[in-house]
């Protein structure tokens, strides 16, 4: 790819063999997002002009042929990331019943990426300042916010919004700033009122849009300690808007009163995840870690776009790293970020129906991986991805690859607590207790004694009082989630 001439196919996000319909569709989609009447971020008008230019060339068969002739022959190897695919089985088996197949997708930056500069940040801290935050929590949040502010580089932008039942912009998003004055404004935040997340999120979005730029890492960090009531759906809609503009959302919950399922759903809309901060003293560590992770972002959100196939469905998808979390099963799927020092690993569970196995080869998924890299000004061409398996009469005796086995063994624990949780929510306490006992057995056998104890303690609670202890379900959920990552790290050593 020459630096002077933009790659028109990449600009539109289509393959080189795209049909005229595909090109038209991609153009309309991009035009809707980038039209000067609508776009908000600096530089988007320029992008729009590029898109238009690309469409003018590619929609005309003659001009497209001429343009194609100027392209270097192999564009796929030019790609900036590499991806590897592992299957749990070498082939599908011709059966009269549904069967499972696991696919592990690993996406990592190519070597040369080390030389890219760290992209500037555009981060908004959305802080809960409801009455319950009073004391240690608020003090710790303020101290950390000031620490982060001091650690910023000149090109970074950090805005701060505090919310209770209404939102207040503490620090507006702006490049020219008086940091000393900002510190004072953070110090002035006083807790009062109830928690209404939508207000805070909306104000946060407004701030982040002021300095929104595709060459920055645009991210909202929501910090709360309470439940929001009635505005969950509005929040989720807002998260979808954020995702469309490449704004990531991370949810952090302090203590045990907040709704982890909601924060997970909110964050996963943008390919992010939620974090559980059990004690106020950990607030600093979590926020600083998150900032460091954002600063080392390579690609902020990898999107797996595909057309759903008949007779096969994605049953479950989970990001094992960099941040463990559920991936929402929808088209397209937002898989999450790739960090410079940590590739993206996603495990997908497919259910294949017997009707699928007519031919000798079955295609589970055909689509593309799309990503944008803030440090690169040119768009990245999509990466074609095709998952297929041969269909045979007999199952293979080959054991599943070790990386799938070890990932699944830990993911199984996480899913067991998930099942215990939903069984308890449905009032099936004996089922929930059984799941927790099973979970404890496996935790013990893996040497996780204290977590096993917690699981048994909660099983006992459920049995006797039909309820979890105040922090029990969150402790188990986020600890089993953390196990996923520790497994990855051990392997790396």
């Amino acid at each position: 790819m020459s630096a002077k001439k933009p790659d028109y196919y990449a600009v539109l996000g289509v393959f080189r063999d795209a049909s005229p319909e595909d090109i038209k569709h991609a153009y309309f989609e991009a035009a809707q997002k980038l039209h000067p009447d609508k776009n908000v971020a600096a530089g988007e008008t320029e992008l729009f002009l590029e898109v238009q230019q690309a469409y003018e060339v590619l929609s005309n068969p003659k001009r497209r042929n001429l343009y194609d002739a100027t392209l270097p022959p192999d564009i796929e190897s030019n790609s900036v990331v590499k991806h590897e695919v592992f299957f749990s089985r070498p082939n599908l088996v011709r059966l009269n019943e549904e069967q499972l197949l696991y696919v592990l997708l690993e996406i990592s930056p190519r070597e040369e990426s080390e030389k890219l500069p760290t992209p500037p940040l555009n981060i908004c801290l959305v802080l809960d300042r409801s009455t319950s935050m009073q004391g240690d929590k608020m003090d710790m949040v303020k101290a950390t916010a000031i620490q982060l502010l001091r650690g910023l580089r000149a090109e970074d932008v950090l805005s701060v919004v505090a919310f209770s039942d209404r939102a207040e912009v503490i620090i507006p998003a702006s490049i020219e700033t008086d940091r000393r004055k900002q510190e004072g404004r953070i110090q002035m935040i006083q807790p009062s009122g109830a928690t209404e997340i939508f207000n805070g999120l909306k104000a946060g979005m407004q701030e982040i849009r002021r300095t929104l730029n595709p060459s920055r890492i645009n991210h909202i960090i929501l910090l709360t300690d309470g439940q929001t009531y009635g505005d969950e759906q509005d929040c989720l809609n807002l998260a979808e808007e954020a995702a469309a503009q490449n704004i990531g959302i991370t949810g952090m919950g302090i203590g045990h009163e907040w709704n982890d399922i909601f924060l997970d759903a909110l964050a996963s809309k943008t390919g992010g995840s939620s974090a559980y901060i059990s004690k106020p003293k950990d607030i600093q560590r979590f926020l600083v870690d998150k900032f460091n992770a954002l600063a080392s972002t390579y690609a902020d959100d990898v999107i797996l776009d595909f057309k759903p196939q008949e007779h096969v469905k994605v049953n479950y998808a989970f990001r094992l790293q960099p941040e463990g979390g559920n991936v929402q099963v929808e088209t397209p799927m937002r898989l999450g970020p790739i960090l410079r020092d940590m590739p993206l690993h996603v495990l997908i569970e497919f259910v294949v129906s017997p009707e699928a196995l007519v031919d000798d080869v079955f295609i589970l998924l055909e689509g593309s991986l799309k990503l944008s890299i803030a440090a690169r000004s040119t768009p990245i061409p999509p990466i074609r991805i095709k998952l297929d398996r041969e269909v045979r009469v007999n199952p293979s005796a080959e054991p599943p690859p070790t990386r799938i086995l070890s990932a699944l063994s830990r993911l199984t624990l996480y899913r067991m607590q998930d099942r215990a949780r939903s069984a308890a929510d449905d009032g099936q306490y004996d089922t929930a207790v059984r799941h927790l006992h099973n979970l404890a057995t496996h935790l013990l056998s893996q040497g996780e004694h204290s977590l096993a104890k917690t699981a048994l303690f909660e099983a006992d609670n459920l049995e006797r009082m039909h309820s979890w202890s105040a922090s029990g379900n969150k402790d188990i959920k986020y600890s089993t989630r953390a196990l996923l990552l520790s497994g990855v790290k051990e392997k790396g050593k």
């Binding site: 019943e97 069967q99 197949l101 696991y102 054991p399 599943p400 063994s409 624990l413 496996h442």
Partner: protein, 170 residues
Amino acid sequence: MILCSNCKHANMAGAIFCAECGAQLIGKDTLTTQTIRTDHFNRASSSKPATDTYQSFDGSDAWGSLHLLDTGQVLPLSARNEFTLGRVSEGQPIMPDIDLSAYQAYAAGVSRLHAVIKREGGRMVFMDLGSANGTFINGKRLSPNVEQSLKHGDILALGKLKIQILVKNE
């Protein structure tokens, strides 16, 4: 479909871990199933007081033994000359001298009071007590309430529960 050997949950084909109990389904030695079963029976039997008594004898003064073929357990017969065989079931006042319920007696079709085994002089005698599924010696069905002598190595079947008779040589 893959049946979990641990909890009998029916998992979808291609599953690697049981969706119910989390046990690993494939990629490990399948023979372990057998080991777990024996292990289970050993533990179950040691928790039963009735068989405990017998195991506390070292077998030196036993006049014979029952060798349970399915599990490999040997129950020595000693300290008295007559034992009733059967299984204890909850809420029933029937107490056989040897309770076989730890050896899957119910599933094998052993009656609560199935049979009696006696020592008469140097002879070992066996009698079915009108059991529902009958007793077989070396494959031949016994008539109920008729005594039948046993010799070393005879295979008894109480319903489907197979026991080999071991007679101590005197």
